[in-house]
Structures are given as structure tokens and as C-alpha cells.
Amino acid sequence: MANAKKSLAKASLRNYPLWFTLPLGLIFVVLFVLPTLTSFYYAMQRWTLFDTTWIGFDNYALFFKDPFLLGGVVHTFIYAFLTSGLKVVIGMFFGVVLMSNIKLRGLLRNIVFFPVLVSTIGVGLTFQELLKPNAGILDQALHVFGIPAAGLLGDVNTALYAVIAVDVWKGVGLATVIYIAGMAAIPSEYYEAAKMDGVTAFQNFRHIILPLLRPATNTVIVLSLIGGLRSFDLIWSMTGGGPGFASDVLASLIYKKYEAGFYGLSTAGNVIMFGLILILIVPLNRFLSKREVEL
């Protein structure tokens, strides 16, 4: 049966001639494939923009010798896994709530989705002001919970987590929409059959919604994990990687090398990050899609 389905899918693919993909393919090659390939070349150069000198793997060696690299990698993983996990849990919760028959459903959906539309740099600068010690509204409100005197962004131990919280606030709307779409795709027969069997609301969620939402969950996990691993703009606009290097991630460390004019070195850093994301995401994606249940 699975085979029949596969060949059906193949046949439906063939309905579209290959040259349909040509325009987009061309853009993809020019703007993505070519720069990616040239970056492998420039990563082996000492590159000042004015001239290049072949230095082999020296850039890679230097990149791995960076005393702040380990901290950056650890922060990157904390950032990626925490934002991804929180987006799954909170996104699914919002999704379930916003699919139910509650008042003002349309308005609430919009409110949850709204932050996704706002520019990340704008969000970063806004929260920087909101969290300004002894001046920002959010900082004042959080004093009830006894936050550090230096402010959430000024304290070495909280800066990264404050950025993570804002990232989740900004990104959870997209996860919610994916879950809502996933739930809308579940045929109502399942619910009707379950109703006949007299299941509770929790059983309904645990045994119908949760397993059938797996494709949606996988999408959210993969998207937010990739996003988290290469996250840069929010961190840069909120803390600049600081205080010191306390919230530096891989991408911000690489950007600092670019800022310093070490173009070859930062390209090598990007190649390493590219490899790292590939190593993580490809097996993860394969593992997750194996566990998907077909509707």
C-alpha cells in the first residue's frame, strides 16, 4: 500500500514539467549555491577585501583557537534547544486553545501572531528600553520578583535567558499557526469516533491530537532549531553578545570577526556553522519524519 502511495506521489509530481522550477532554481543557484561554493574558497584565504593570500587551513585553526568559541557554542545550543522546546510547548498550547470555541478567537489569534510581523531589530531595541534598569517599565514590574540590580540584560547570568524569552515571545505565533493548520487537517471522523467511545477531553488530546500533530510538531522543531542555531539579529540588538561575552553565540562571534576586518576568518567560521547545522538537522529531520503517522 505504501508503494502504491509513493508511485502516486511520483506521478503527481510529474504533472509539472521540470522547467517550471527553472526561474526559482536560477535564483537559488546565483544567490545561494554560488556564494556557498565561493565561501569554501575564501575560507582558505587571508582576505582584506583588497587582496587575498592563500593560507590553507590557518583560518580554521585560528577559529578553533578562539578562547570565546566554547562559550559561544554552549550558548548557541542553550539558545536553540530552549527556544525550540518552548515554542513547541507554548505554541501547541496556544494552538489548542485557539482552535476551541472561545470568545474573541479571531482577535486572540491575531494578537498571538502579531509579534512575528514586527522587525526583529525593532523588537530587540524595544525590549532593551523596556528592560533598562530602574527606567524600563518591564524592569520595574520585574522588581517584584527580585531581579538583579544590573537589570536582566546587564546581569551575566540572566542576559542570555532574557533574550531567549523575547525570542519565544516573538516566534511563538508562527508555531501556533503551524499547529492550528495541523489541527485543521485532522479529519473530524476521529473526534466523532472518539465521542462515540466516550473519551475525556484529555484522552482526546493525548491519543488523537498529539499523535496526529506530529508532522506539525516536527516542522516547528526543525524550523525553530535551525532558526535558533543561526540566531543573530535579536541577540545583537539586545546585548551585542554582552555583557562581555556572556550572551555571545556562534553567529555573533563570527560577525565580530567580520567587523574586525577578518573576512577570511569569518568566512571560515560560517563554513563551520554551516557544517554544524547540517550535521544536526539532517539526521534529526530523518529521525522525526520516520515517526510521523500517516493520516
Binding site: 587571508r46 582584506t48 577585501l49 583588497f50 587582496d51 593570500t53 590557518d58 585560528l62 583557537k65 578562539d66 578562547p67 570565546f68 531595541l125 532593551q128 528592560l131 533598562k132 534598569p133 530602574n134 540590580a149 544590573a150 537589570g151 540584560l153 546587564g154 546581569d155 551575566v156 551585542g240 553578545g241 554582552g242 555583557p243 562581555g244 561575552f245 556572556a246 555571545d248 565580530k256 570577526k257 567580520y258 567587523e259 574586525a260 576586518g261 577578518f262 577570511g264 576568518l265
Partner: protein, 432 residues
């Protein structure tokens, strides 16, 4: 550096003014064909009146040349923009930019016009020329005033704390800080939210480093001396640790920014603020006679001197199509007419490095008067970045780490030594 909407507004206004001036010229009686040249300058809001005054004066003296101003962000963003423009041959006819280590990174021999033999060089102090030279060729004219790195202090706060004069040693400074803290005022303002400001206590200490270890400059450049293992140099990092350990900084040091620092030392919310003297133009008019400036003291009360920063330079890229007109503008910047126009537009901000420079008018801000007196006294030494192309890019982050107590002074200095090695290797210097 981020471009805020206000700056953008000012910039747009400046462009409007410039283009208005251009249209006005069209209406004038026919004259020799005019050449329009372009000038790229940084977008510090306080500098815009200076640019406009200088353009007006230059165009009046050279009716056949029009100057069109374009601005760029400062900091690392500006560095990259300048490099990109030079590398792609799209640089403006004249651009003003840092001198010293940052200029070397532009590869002047390949990208800039050699100005060694220009007549205006006779009017430039020889002490400035190495800052815009590579080898024996001089590539720029001075633009702007000499600056000092040191400590701004609020005279009213000092008076309230019973401090007379300025501290002559670091130990005295710490005692004074204690007296200020007793008043409930933050003794020393730190603004690590703009991490470049954290470097000041280290960079401005260089006069003292050089005074107690004159061989450091040469040994450092030759990869022989290290910050972590040279006692005189390690002390510079120790200053940051001292302030943190004593709790003399503001509680929000890690997020406060440069404008906060200037505003607080001006209003007396804090006693001292380590900074470069370009900040004087940001002090509100009503506090200009209240905020003084002193050199960062070391350990020897008999030898207190100032670490100085050279003015930036004006350069001409090889790609220019209006070389003669561009040379005229650069020569104008290094002339009395040029500095007079700058003073008229933005006030007197410090001594120039030209022979026939504009004199300080009466009623300059107290900090500017202090700076001029320090330079006149002759006890000055250039900051390390004017003596060596080696400056690790992570110094801001590392000084924040030391200044906020995340790592010790010794560990911070060692991290910086490592950072410097990476930079020297990227510059392709031999011996690293």
C-alpha cells in the same frame, strides 16, 4: 553603531541644505564650468554643523567647485563601508576617516593618492604625519582636533566631597572616589552597554605604561612583551578590576551607554567618567563650565601626563576623477581657513595639529581649556594604536569582562594577548 532616526533626520536635513545651496548657485550669473566633488564623512550629529560651515567657506573661496556631502556610520560598520567602497572603486572623491592603526588596514599604497609632496604638508606638524603615513609616504591631511584620553570629572561633586585639585596618583583617585561614594553619588560612571567605552581605562593609561616601561612599545610590536607579563601594562587592566572590586561604578554599568555617561557626569549624578575628549561637544551648554577633564593618573605623582589621540585624516582615493579639486579640499582642511570654519560651525574643540591653527576663543568649555593646558604642558604620549598597527578587536568585550568582575585583570590581559596574536596573524605580520 546604530543609526537612530534622529540622526537620519539630521542627515536628511543636511542633504536638503546642501542641495538648496546647489540650486541657489544655478541662479547666479554664468561663470566658469563648475566641478562637483563628493565628500564622505562620519555621521556624528555634533559634527554636521562643522561640515556645513566648512563646505560653505570652501565653496566661497573656490566658486568653481561644489562639494556634496555624504555621511556614513561610525564604528565597525563605518570601517567596513569604507573598505568596501575602496575595494570596489566607488569611494567619494575625498573621505575623512581615522588615522593610525585603522588607516593601515585600508592598504593605502594600493588605494590612496600619495600626498607627501603637497604644499599644505608644510603647515602640518611633523608629529602628526606618522599617523597618516605608511613607510615614507604620507597619505592624508589632518582632519579635526587632537584629543586626549582621560577622565571627565564634575567640579561641583568634587567640591561637595571636599576634593581639592585633581588626583595625582591612582591611589589618590580611589580615595577621592570613596569620598564621593560617601555622598551617595556614583564615583565613577561606566557605560559597558557601549562596550567600546570600557576600553578607556586601559587605553588612556598608556602614558603611564610608557613612563614606567619605555621599551614596551617596541617589544610589544615585536611579539616579545605581553600585557599579562609586563607589570606596567598589566596595571592598566588592574584599574578596571579596582573600580569593580571597590564597587565604585554605577549599578547599571553593564547596560548604560555612552550618552548616559556624558549626561550623568554633566548633571553630577556621578563624579567621574573615563572618556576621550571628543565627548566635550556632547556636554549640555549649562554644564560646560562645570565639567573638567584630567589625565588618567598612574602611580608616580611627579609624572602625570596625558595619552593623546591624533586627529583623523582626510584622504583621496586613487579612483577619483577630480583629483585637482579633491586636493584643494584636502588642503583647505589643513589650512587656517579650514580650521576657522570648523570653529565657527562647531565651536573650539581642542588644539589642531597645523602650524597656523585657530586660537582658542574666550569662554571655551572647561574640559577643552583643561585639555589645551595639558597639551601645552608637553607631558603627552600617543595612544598605542598610533604606534603599532596591532590592536585586538576583542578588547571592548574583554575590558567589559574585567570591569564587571567576570574575569580577573590578569586573566583579561592574557585573553587580550591571545586576541592580539590572532589579529597580527590576520594582518599577515611577520614574527607572529
Amino acid at each position: 553603531m546604530r543609526i537612530n532616526p534622529l540622526k537620519r533626520g539630521i542627515f536628511t536635513a543636511a542633504v536638503c541644505v546642501a542641495s538648496l545651496a546647489a540650486t541657489a548657485a544655478v541662479g547666479m550669473p554664468a561663470q566658469a564650468a563648475t566641478t562637483t566633488i563628493t565628500w564622505l564623512a562620519d555621521n556624528t550629529p555634533a559634527n554636521l554643523p562643522i561640515y556645513n560651515a566648512q563646505i560653505a567657506a570652501f565653496q566661497k573661496a573656490n566658486p568653481t567647485i561644489k562639494v556634496k556631502l555624504t555621511t556614513r556610520p561610525g564604528g565597525a560598520d563605518g570601517d567596513n563601508l569604507v573598505k568596501t567602497k575602496l575595494a570596489t572603486g566607488s569611494m567619494e572623491d575625498v573621505f575623512t576617516y581615522n588615522s593610525g592603526a585603522l588607516l593601515v588596514a585600508l592598504n593605502p599604497a594600493k588605494t590612496l593618492v600619495d600626498l607627501t609632496k603637497e604644499k599644505f604638508q608644510a603647515n602640518v606638524y611633523d608629529s602628526f604625519k606618522p599617523a597618516v603615513a605608511v613607510g615614507k609616504k604620507v597619505y592624508g591631511a589632518p582632519y579635526g582636533t587632537a584629543m586626549g584620553g582621560g577622565i571627565y570629572y564634575n567640579t561641583s561633586v568634587f567640591k561637595k566631597a571636599g576634593i581639592t585639585g585633581t588626583p595625582k596618583t591612582w591611589a589618590e583617585l580611589m580615595t577621592d572616589a570613596k569620598a564621593i561614594k560617601a555622598l551617595g553619588i556614583d564615583p565613577i560612571c561606566e557605560t559597558f552597554g557601549d562596550s567600546w567605552t570600557a576600553q578607556l581605562l586601559v587605553l588612556a593609561d598608556f602614558y603611564n605604561v610608557h613612563a614606567s616601561d619605555p621599551s614596551f612599545v617596541a617589544d610589544y610590536g615585536a611579539n616579545k612583551a605581553k600585557y599579562a607579563y609586563t607589570p606596567a601594562a598589566l596595571k592598566s587592566f588592574q584599574r578596571l578590576e579596582d573600580v569593580n572590586k571597590a564597587g565604585y561604578a554605577n549599578a547599571d554599568a553593564n547596560t548604560a551607554k555612552f550618552p548616559d555617561g556624558v549626561a550623568r557626569v554633566s548633571s553630577g549624578k556621578c563624579g567621574m567618567y573615563p572618556m576621550l575628549t571628543f565627548a566635550t561637544s556632547s556636554i549640555p551648554a549649562e554644564n560646560q563650565q562645570e565639567v573638567g577633564f584630567m589625565a588618567q593618573p598612574g602611580d608616580n605623582a611627579k609624572n602625570v601626563g596625558l595619552t593623546t589621540w591624533m586627529p583623523g585624516g582626510a584622504y583621496i582615493p586613487k579612483s577619483t576623477k577630480h583629483l585637482d579639486a579633491a586636493k584643494k579640499l584636502v588642503a583647505f582642511f589643513a589650512s587656517k581657513a579650514g580650521t576657522d570654519a570648523a570653529v565657527k560651525g562647531g565651536g573650539y574643540q581642542g588644539p589642531y595639529v597645523t602650524v597656523d591653527q585657530s586660537a582658542a576663543p574666550a569662554g571655551v568649555p572647561l574640559a577643552t581649556a583643561n585639555l589645551s593646558a595639558l597639551i601645552k604642558a608637553g607631558k603627552t604620549y600617543p595612544a598605542l594604536e598610533f604606534l603599532s598597527p596591532i590592536k585586538g578587536p576583542n578588547l571592548p568585550g574583554i575590558t567589559v569582562q574585567v570591569g564587571s568582575g567576570q574575569v580577573s585583570a590578569k586573566a583579561g590581559a592574557a585573553l587580550y594577548d591571545q586576541d592580539v596574536v590572532a589579529q597580527a596573524q590576520q594582518l599577515g605580520l611577520s614574527g607572529w
